[in-house]
Amino acid sequence: MTSSAGSDNTLGTLYEAYATDLVRVAFLLTGVQAQAEDVVHDVFVRCAGRVDALDHPLSYLRTAVVNECRTRHRRNRTSDVAVPEQVVMPDRVVETLDALGCLSEDQRTAIVLRYFVDLPEVEIAAVLGCRPATVRSHVHRGVAELRKVMS
């Protein structure tokens, strides 16, 4: 993902530039495409009034997407409102998502940001609102868990 959509930070421009990548991040965090799209849409809706004033909207949007995924994850844990829907995906993808599902919320987020988005620890820490050392702990333990699960 590029860091800037240029000077034209209109909602449409930003959506065009970043929505797909952000949905993919949200998909890895939620495991559900429809929910990932909802997350990104909601984030754009909420941020639309302020992103045009931001110099670097991607960091802002990415943080908002991650936070929204985490919020929904917590909400879903205590809610029965989910409506199941069938989607067909390759086995390997299902296995990957299932493996990610074995991680704690923090570990999953750190793993996705580290190895998919390819963020360095300090940026992940800025997104998660924690110390870089805490990120290291989440990544280390998350990888250890994935080694077990995916083996």
Binding site: R24, D55, D118
Partner: protein, 675 residues
């Protein structure tokens, strides 16, 4: 990825599979069912997922929310709240809630405890973005003051040190994730900043920063020399994310007096980034952080900054840890590799050849983001569950009412016997959206005492020792014996100014193996009385009749180590005759001493009355000879034993069940008192 990660097949596979999974998702315009058509894999599986709203609905909502958002005016935090009177310092055990700060709560700030003042600058506010403001909390005046404007741009995770007169802030990460190299120093006396030369090795953030006494040494963290930048998976050209060279970690030293940097040889041999570090014995001590399985993650290393050579220190155990300096010793705050983040405090022994555990404190359920600090007097912990102090019995004690919701991601500092915490309040408290506390931990701060029911715990399968009542440690414990559910023998003990005795029948056994029994507590007999000791901020109530909860091991042979004695508070000893004459093969006799006498013993006598196998569980520093207290033991074996205990008696460790820790001054610990 780091170099080590690049060579890790599993990490490579993980990256591939994450990308593979993410590519299942196309542009959101295709709609939520597009992935069925978009997938090219031949093997497919039904996956149940949650439904979601469509784009059309989102756009409709967008219009409404954009309008609403533009109509909102967020109230800025400005000015200081009226401070409390100058108290000239906190009493032991005192907790002070701070007035509201003139800046927003944040994490990743440059911060330092500076002679009664907390300096906080920069960081990332909860609702973003990076900040360039700061404030000073003066503990003597109990008030905050805004810092003068800084020449530095907004940033998070800057490297910083307190030099004794200035807070030096170097580098950090800007809002667009750009790493920074500029440096400035803040003088709280003058409330002014001055600019200093940039970090010579270039931009960096979240690295090690220590004050040697004359220089600020910084190293590692996230750094990005231009010639090492590359684009990794998931990135595109132009992405500011850069990769790390891990073979060499840059190192430099700044003399704030002259404003001159000294470039030092890069650190070699730790294959990772130096991060949290301390300055100890002329070296920079940190943890290697390469994440490789074959090497402990977080292995302690000492770096000679003049050569860049890294020397491995003794292994501190499995995974995760950081160095600390306390009482002029080097410590390692070790967290095990499990999910429960057990804390172990290790001190580097003389000669530096091994870490010595102070007796693994039974750790409460600290969250992953807790912060452990040395206040200058004791260890303390901020975590979401409260504020904890390691007391003199090596147990973590939660401070009453400390539900401040502060942890290591907030600004937590310590020094001069004080602990400082400041961060967001959730939910909002009396001081708005932030909470700040200043604590002077009392080594014996404990939870409130409820007269009844009492709480006590710990013992062996047969002879039980109650070590606390209502959360108040009973130094020496209450010793009694069970036969089935009945207390057949007991001995009262008085310590810390009160007397407690188990009486009557056991009331119940709970699911943890705890035994509940009647308990009488009261003042000691006049003949044994010693000057009353205040054990809490609130005086303990006399004549408490409560319920003792006694935890016993499930199999009767193993249970968690429990520190039993703190010599600072020991005032008595006892050897209940009725227990000695009960005829069991293994009868425990426990004798405790006074610190003034410099003796203490916990003694196990097999077949008391017939012979003594000299199975001393532990004996230490009987500098003044045997105590006449031993004469209380009315059995021949005990007398013989008493005669053998004298000056120079050595500590003995009787296998796994024997002494675990005792330094002659602080605590006696043991596992079993009955076969």
């Amino acid at each position: 990825m780091t170099a080590d990660e690049r060579t890790d097949p599993f990490i490579e596979q993980l990256v591939q599979r994450l990308e593979e999974a993410a590519l299942e998702v196309g542009p959101p315009e295709r709609g939520p069912t597009a992935s069925v058509a978009g997938s090219s894999a031949t093997q497919r599986r039904i996956r149940w997922i949650l439904g979601g709203a469509g784009m059309a609905a989102a756009v409709i909502v967008a219009v409404a929310l954009i309008a609403a958002d533009r109509g909102q005016n967020r109230e800025a935090i400005t000015g200081t709240r009226a401070g409390e009177p100058d108290t000239a310092g906190l009493e032991r055990g005192e907790v002070r809630l701070l007035p509201e700060a003139p800046i927003e709560p944040r994490f990743g700030a440059a911060a330092a405890w500076a002679d009664g003042r907390a300096l906080v600058w920069g960081g990332l506010a909860d609702d973003g973005p990076q900040r360039a403001d700061g404030a000073v909390y003066d503990a003597r005046k109990n008030e905050w003051q805004l810092m003068a404007d800084s020449p530095l741009s907004p940033r998070v995770f800057a490297q910083s040190v307190w030099t004794g007169s200035e807070l030096v802030v170097a580098g950090g990460m800007a809002e667009d994730s750009t790493l920074l190299a500029d440096v400035a120093a803040y003088d709280p006396e003058a409330d002014s900043w001055r600019e200093l030369p940039d970090i010579p090795y270039g931009p960096s953030a979240a690295g090690a920063a220590v004050w040697t006494g004359s220089e600020m040494v910084i190293s590692g963290g996230q750094f990005a020399p231009a010639d090492t930048a590359e684009v990794g998976p998931g990135s595109q050209a132009g992405d500011p994310v850069t990769r790390l060279p891990v073979d060499e970690v840059p190192l430099a030293a700044l003399d704030p007096g002259t404003g001159a940097w000294r470039e030092l040889p890069p650190i070699r041999g730790i294959a990772g980034r130096a991060a949290e570090a301390v300055w100890f014995d002329g070296t920079l001590v940190t943890a290697r952080q390469d994440g490789r399985d074959e090497e402990p993650w977080g292995r302690p290393v000492a770096i000679d900054v003049s050569t860049g050579d890294a020397r491995l220190l003794p292994d501190a155990g499995p995974a995760f840890g950081r160095p600390a300096v306390a009482d002029d010793d080097l410590w390692w705050v070790a967290l095990d590799g499990g999910g429960d983040e057990q804390v172990d405090l290790l001190r580097l022994g003389e000669g530096g050849e091994a870490w010595e555990s102070i007796g693994r404190p039974r750790t409460p359920d600290f969250g992953t983001d807790f912060r452990i600090l040395w206040t200058g007097e004791t260890w303390a912990v901020f975590d979401r569950g409260g504020f904890w102090t390691l007391d003199s019995t090596m147990q973590w004690r939660r401070t009453r009412g400390s539900n401040w919701n502060l942890d290591g991601d907030d600004v937590t500092l310590a020094g001069g016997g004080l602990a400082f915490g400041w961060g967001s309040a959730a939910p909002s408290g009396p001081h708005g959206d932030q909470v700040g506390v200043l604590v002077r931990p009392d080594l014996r701060m404990v939870e409130p005492v409820a007269p009844s029911p009492g709480e006590a715990f710990m013992g062996s399968s047969e002879a039980l020792i109650v070590t606390a009542v209502d959360g108040v440690p009973i130094e020496g414990g209450i010793y009694f014996r069970l036969a089935g559910d009945e207390v057949v023998a007991s001995a009262c003990v008085w310590s810390a100014g009160y007397r407690a005795e188990v009486t009557g029948d056991v009331l119940s056994v709970d699911h943890e193996g705890g035994v509940w029994a009647d308990l009488d507590c009261g003042p000691p007999p006049a003949s044994e009385a010693e000057p009353a000791r205040r054990i809490l901020a609130e005086p303990f109530e006399w004549s408490v009749r409560g319920v003792a909860r006694v935890l016993v091991a499930e199999d009767g042979t193993e249970f968690t180590l429990q520190p039993q004695v703190t010599l600072d508070h020991l005032v008595g000893s006892w050897a209940p005759e009725d227990l000695l004459s009960a005829g069991a093969e293994s009868q425990p006799v426990i004798v405790f001493g006074r610190p003034a006498d410099e003796w203490a013993a916990e003694i196990k006598i097999d077949a008391c009355g017939t012979s003594i196998e000299s199975r001393l569980w532990n004996v230490s520093r009987f500098a003044n000879g045997p105590s006449d207290r031993l004469g209380l033991l009315e059995c021949p074996g005990a007398q013989e034993l008493a005669s053998r205990i004298g000056a120079g008696t050595e500590i003995r460790v009787a296998g796994e069940d024997g002494l675990e820790f005792f330094d002659g001054e602080t605590a006696v610990t043991f596992r079993r008192v009955a076969e």
